[in-house]
Symmetry: C2
Subunit: 228 residues, 2 copies
DNA sequence: TCAAAAGTGTTTGCAATACACCCATGC
DNA sequence: GCATGGGTGTATTGCAAACACTTTTGA
């Protein structure tokens, strides 16, 4: 820090929360109840408090705006174009997270008229530079998915092989061969086959699996190439 | 942005500049000429101006502190622990870059008593949380190197296959088999064999190569797995 | 002629790909 | 019994890994 700043600026956080539901990848948006950009859909966000670490700030903001609590978010990038926010200079730090929508109750909170999940195929025009932030996050997710396991956070505890295949297909926007996908996935030893099957489906019931948390975490560190 | 902030905070930028020289990976540090932490070695950094985009700010700061001009830096992460900086709350955005030290003239500038390259095996204790920022950057570099080509920015225009192997070895801290390394590298079509050889070496002169910029950029986008 | 680094090929095993049919269940 | 998705195996091909000797050059 070689020089003193001549003016102060403000710092905010915006959250891109991904969820997987109905075989579709979604993000969580809220509708602004205050100016600027009243009524627009936007990423859940807010200002950082002066006595608050970044991660805690992100969690608080997400909770306040959408009611979603207690999730692990990861920083992705700072966005600081001079005019990205009207009237004053606001630099924002983007965070993202993966969650299973079924586990959370969405309740619009501070400054929000509404909050809901949007299919990534139908994201509206968002406030400020939020479309850019969202696209950046999606890009990160698409890269990440090829180098380390995802799914633990997005899927229910017990799931079928078809569901995890649909997840990968939804994230990457491509389709996989059933047999090769399963071979590759099972070879990692990432999944544990449960002695349980689906219930109440109008066709042959699929076997349920869960993640082997230990191997999952190992692969997070080490990385792999998911090439399908 | 659902809520107004109650207090303003300051924002800085810190740069982790990697270079490759004498078969070693290095980073560029400067010695602080002002308080706080006078005389300590630190990452080149400074405060963001209110009318300045982040990238431009990073370039300006690097230039002012070390004399290094006109390089492309990439954002890596924001660091915002409440007490990371003494006296006041300062959140900093880390940037990193890869350059060939031979192409730049280091001249300690604003607030710097000295500026020089340090082998990554001998990084001193740095100011504030700069060791953490540096390690974060090193980690990113080590991941990146496995998924996309590096070297263009770090190596001289013409180089030997052995030199690029040494670069990968220095970055990753492991050794590769000569034959397999060359096979893999050449198979990418990334390198163009020049009709020139090393000169003035006391052993068999090695062939020189350069990057095929077009394929280099393609691979940057697409990614690959460097598994050796 | 010696020292120092450059340069080169083969074998083996595993993983990626492409591809089609039978199975279990509920209605 | 039919519609719906579940579940499985093989043949081919290419890449990764392991491994040691000869060549060139300058001093």
């Amino acid at each position: 820090m070689a020089e003193e700043s001549n003016k102060l600026q403000e710092l905010s956080i915006d959250c891109v929360i991904f969820g997987f539901e109905d075989h579709q990848l979604k993000i969580l948006l809220y509708q602004r109840a205050i100016e600027p950009e009243m009524d627009q859909w936007a990423l859940p966000g807010g200002f950082i408090k002066i006595d608050e670490d970044l991660d805690r700030s992100a969690s608080r903001i997400l909770k306040e705006v959408t009611g979603v609590n207690n999730i692990y978010m990861q920083q992705i990038n700072a966005f600081g174009a001079v005019n990205r926010y009207p009237q004053k200079r606001v630099i924002t730090i983007g965070f993202y997270a993966l969650i299973n929508p079924g586990n959370y109750n969405i309740v619009p909170g501070v400054g929000a008229k509404a909050a809901q999940w949007f299919d990534i195929a139908q994201i509206p025009v968002l406030s400020f530079d939020h479309n850019e932030i969202y696209l950046y996050a999606l890009n990160i997710l698409r890269k990440k998915v090829r180098y380390e396991p995802i799914g633990f956070e997005l899927l229910p505890e017990k799931f079928t092989l078809t569901l995890i295949q649909r997840l990968y297909e939804a994230v990457l926007g491509i389709e996989f061969d059933v047999r090769n996908f399963r071979k590759k996935l099972l070879k990692m030893n990432l999944l544990i086959k449960l002695p349980e099957k689906q219930e109440g489906v109008a066709h042959r019931a699929a076997n349920l699996y869960k993640f082997d948390k230990k191997i999952y975490n190992e692969l997070k560190g080490k990385g792999f190439m998911f090439d399908l």
